[in-house]
Point group: C2
Chain length 161, copies 2
């Protein structure tokens, strides 16, 4: 990709895309919750060709029709989101802070940091980072906050009250 293509995609992401950090409930996880990072682009399904072009440039992710006339191109997972955000970061303006925080969170996760695995303590730290991220994001109601994760871990005596 040329610098101009990266700049174009960064502009498009600033205008109509989304950098997301989420706390996701996983009933089969000992720690109950997982941190998910994603980059999402939206477009009317009739312009899905534009999402295919973006995917050709960025390489990762998948496109799905939502069924309401819109299509989504989603890049999900720490390694691929890290790669994508590092490419775009020098060109982002509106969502630069979001990308920086997402990258910082990703760098703390076990696989990306070279650590063995999640601990309750690390999950709480990441959950609090995600809360801070959403403060920046002016987000609507979220169900899974750091407080929810903490209550889950406390109930199982995995973190101290």
């Amino acid at each position: 990709m040329t610098a101009e293509q990266k700049a174009y995609i960064a502009g498009f992401l600033d205008g109509d895309g989304c950098v997301m950090l989420q706390l996701v409930w996983r009933k089969d996880y000992v720690l109950g919750y997982q941190v998910r990072a994603s980059v999402v682009f939206y477009q009317k399904t009739q312009h899905e060709h534009h999402l295919r072009w973006l995917k050709e440039q960025l390489g990762d992710g998948y496109i799905r029709k939502r069924g309401d006339g819109m299509s989504e191109y989603t890049i999900v997972g720490f390694a691929v989101v890290q790669r994508t955000l590092r490419l775009l970061l020098p060109h982002l303006r509106l969502k630069q802070k979001h990308a920086e925080i997402a990258l910082r969170v990703i760098e703390k996760t076990p696989r990306q940091s070279g650590r063995a695995s999640y601990t309750p303590r690390l999950l709480m730290e990441l959950a609090e980072d995600v809360d801070r991220y959403f403060t920046l994001n002016y987000s609507k109601k979220r169900k899974n906050t750091a407080a929810v994760v903490r209550r889950f871990l406390q109930a199982r005596q995995m973190v101290s009250p």
Copy 2:
């Protein structure tokens, strides 16, 4: 502006901006209607700094708070829209066709083409171009179509039925 800045702004316009051609009623105009070209960027007022940055890059236009929490940066007028679209055209993807049609319409207008002034015939030609533009734009209901302009001009015997 660097090519990267132009590419970024083109990406942002593709994501969240608008290239507009409109037929505007002017009660004091002999021909009744005027063609208006504009480029508009939107942003929450709390992020108005981004619109100011765009305006610094592009030079023309003005920013206004809409009063509903949104701000708009509008570039309106043939000469400045022509200048803006020529800068961005090589980098646009989703709105490239819109920009091309808008440029073609602008090039036909009296001042930009070096012609003396509007004639009923030229206004009808431009009005039909604007209609074609809106077919491309998948636009909602428009009040002022070429048919409306034609009826106005016919009623005043400025074009033949």
